[in-house]
């Protein structure tokens, strides 16, 4: 400890001042911030598992998930059927694996479509100083009056139960949230000098909206997207639970919880396993969302 000053000699200090440290690439910074937190890593791993499961479902599933009677009805977990069988004798593990497909498909497609439409409407409304703002936002308010699940329920009931209709229903239900958040953020961002500056530089309004405003409102929306991914999977589960989601032979986690629920006392694994899958996926999306928010913002990236 006493020889510290001697080691850090004058020459060393001077050399440090003159040689710029090597640049850290933005991508490297991104990874460092993103994977710097344990929870984000755990979330990413869970999501990776869910994705791989969804992609490779036909190879992973030990049995045909739709075929009744591959075992006896309501078998307890055993070596042949790791999670037992449901009331029709279908292999529960296979159904769980195929359920990942439904969850990811419904979750992603509806959230992404809703985000694209909602953010576009929100930024347009927030940026415009004309009648577009009240017009779009009142429409969104009208949509928002209905609880999300009720709205999805009505749409699904009108259109009938199918995976496409579930996606449509969820998309419509999710749009107003994005529009609202994007509009609010845009209202504050548009007052910054750099937006005025880009107008002064002669850029067109659409260019400014998407090139200058969008990246600035994106980090908070990013979190919303991931939260909504979890929520959409839950909502799909809810719709399926209520019986207006995926058509019967199809495998959906929510429907599985609902089906297994009657046998809760005798065979709890039937609803606990899909329930746990829903919960873990939702949790994983939230964690990854938090990590992304910190990592996509270049200002935070420098600090963390």
């Amino acid at each position: 400890m006493s020889d510290g000053p001697a080691v850090i000699g004058k020459a060393a200090t001077v050399a440090n001042f003159q040689e710029a440290p090597p640049r850290i690439s933005e991508w490297k910074r991104f990874r460092r911030v993103f994977f710097g937190r344990g929870m984000v890593v755990v979330g990413s791993l869970i999501l990776l598992c869910v994705f791989l499961t969804a992609i490779f479902a036909p190879w992973l599933a030990p049995y045909d998930p739709y075929k009744p009677g591959v075992g006896n009805p309501l078998e307890k977990p055993s070596k042949r059927h790791l999670l037992g069988t449901d009331n029709l004798g279908r292999d529960q593990l296979s159904r769980l694996i195929f359920g990942a497909r439904t969850a990811i498909l419904v979750g992603f497609v509806s959230v992404i479509i809703a985000a694209v439409i909602g953010i576009t409407l929100g930024i347009a409304a927030g940026y415009s100083r004309g009648p577009a703002n009240p017009l779009i936002m009142r429409l969104m308010d009208a949509l928002m009056c209905f609880p999300n699940i009720l709205l999805a329920l009505v749409i699904a009931a009108i259109l009938g139960g199918s995976i496409v209709n579930v996606i449509v229903a969820l998309t419509v239900a999710l749009i107003p949230t994005y529009a609202r958040v994007a509009c609010g953020l845009t209202l504050s961002v548009r007052e910054y000098d750099y937006v005025l500056a880009s107008r002064l530089m002669g850029f067109g309004n659409f260019y400014i909206m998407f090139r200058h405003v969008l990246p600035n409102v994106f980090p908070p929306i990013m979190v919303l997207v991931t939260l909504q991914l979890g929520a959409a999977i839950l909502a799909e589960a809810g719709l399926s639970f209520l019986g207006i989601g995926i058509e019967p032979p199809g495998a959906a986690w929510g429907a599985m919880v609902s089906d297994g629920y009657q046998y809760m006392m005798s065979n709890p694994v039937l609803s606990l396993a899909p329930g746990l899958a829903i919960m873990l996926t939702g949790f994983a999306f939230n964690m990854v969302g938090d990590g992304l928010r910190d990592a996509v913002d270049p200002r935070l990236r420098g600090l963390l």
Binding site: D193, M201, Y207, N216
Partner: protein, 333 residues
């Protein structure tokens, strides 16, 4: 030759409290390669008048009348979002703001922000745009430009950001650069460097420069001609040396009397201008400086605000003192 002529420009804001005549009949001329100073205190309409020139007044503000003649065309005939107006902004007339901290987009790299302008206006490809950006970054003295190109604004200091703003403003080789208090947010040494840089850059690019400021020291050194604004109008205009040596409007005289100078004898008392600038809502038609004026006469309260009277070669003042040619004022009286 006049590059830009603003004639009788009027920009009003309709607020809940009443009509604010932020700019009320202002005329400016900017000649080729000229540096023009626009001086006035906060809220006198200096920024609004130049935003009006660029047609960038947001509601509730509205340009009520006047002409902005630039390269033979009246810019006010174009609508705000028209392609003609967009081709002028940034490419022909560019602007530098007061607050370098917020005038660069925080989520785009500084180099990219300049390059995108070059791609947009001059239709350059990525490589040409980057080359020109690097060339300009070197020109304004950003060390290690190649590496700093990919930095984000928060990685730059205030002075460096303002240098980047200058790079941006100069990138498309504009005819006119409007600098709206470009050095207010910077410390004094950086201020001097940046003004010197701005001066060199407009010379290099043969552009004209409008320096909007409330700091007389800033314009004293660089401006060829000066407009002094008060309450939405020009109260005095003239060559820089006339304004500083022979000011004729009581407001200009007041401004100079409350500013210390290096080239004067010691011991002069600085005299503040008493009172406050007027509220621009529902102003009376009389001279707006009247309540604060030391030279006021009884007639001033009865007559409307007079026009600009000639008080010397290329030198005008908006004051009843100069109604007749013999009314010259000596500042040291």
């Amino acid at each position: 030759m006049a590059l830009l002529r603003v004639e009788d420009l009027k920009t009003y804001f309709q607020t809940d409290a009443g009509l604010v005549k932020a700019v009320d009949g202002v005329s400016f001329t900017v000649n080729e390669q000229e540096i023009v100073g626009v001086v006035g205190e906060s809220g006198c309409g200096k920024s609004v008048s130049w935003l009006s020139v660029m047609s960038l007044i947001n509601p509730p503000g509205k340009i009520m009348g006047g002409k902005v003649l630039f390269e033979g065309k009246n810019l006010l005939e174009y609508t705000r979002h028209s392609p003609e107006m967009r081709a002028v902004r940034g490419a022909k007339i560019s602007m530098i703001f007061q607050e370098p901290m917020t005038s660069l987009n925080p989520v785009l790299t500084v180099g990219e922000q300049v390059s995108e302008m070059l791609r947009w206006h001059l239709k350059m490809n990525d490589k040409e745009a980057k080359e020109r950006t690097l060339y300009l970054m070197n020109l304004v003295g950003i060390p290690d430009a190649k590496n700093r190109y990919d930095d984000y604004p928060h990685q730059f200091s205030g002075g460096m950001r303002q240098r980047m703003m200058i790079v941006m403003a100069m990138s498309c080789n504009p005819r006119l650069v409007i600098a709206d208090e470009p050095t207010t947010a910077l410390d004094v040494t950086t201020q001097a460097q940046l003004l010197e840089l701005l001066n060199e850059m407009v010379k290099e690019f043969q552009s004209s420069l409008v320096l909007i400021t409330h700091n007389l020291g800033v314009v004293a050194r660089y401006a060829h001609r000066i407009y002094v604004m008060y309450a939405g109008r020009v109260v005095e205009e003239g060559k820089a040396e006339d304004i500083f040596e022979r000011p004729q409007h009581p407001y200009t005289i007041g401004l100079l009397k409350c500013t210390p100078r290096l080239d004067e004898e010691e011991g002069r008392e600085l005299e503040p201008i008493t009172g406050l600038p007027p509220n621009l809502i529902n102003m009376p038609p009389t001279c707006a400086f009247l309540p604060r004026c030391k030279y006021r006469k009884e007639r001033c309260a009865e007559e409307p605000w007079p026009p600009l009277f000639p008080v010397g070669p290329d030198h005008y003042a908006r004051c009843l003192l100069h109604e007749n040619a013999e009314g010259r004022v000596n500042m040291n009286d």
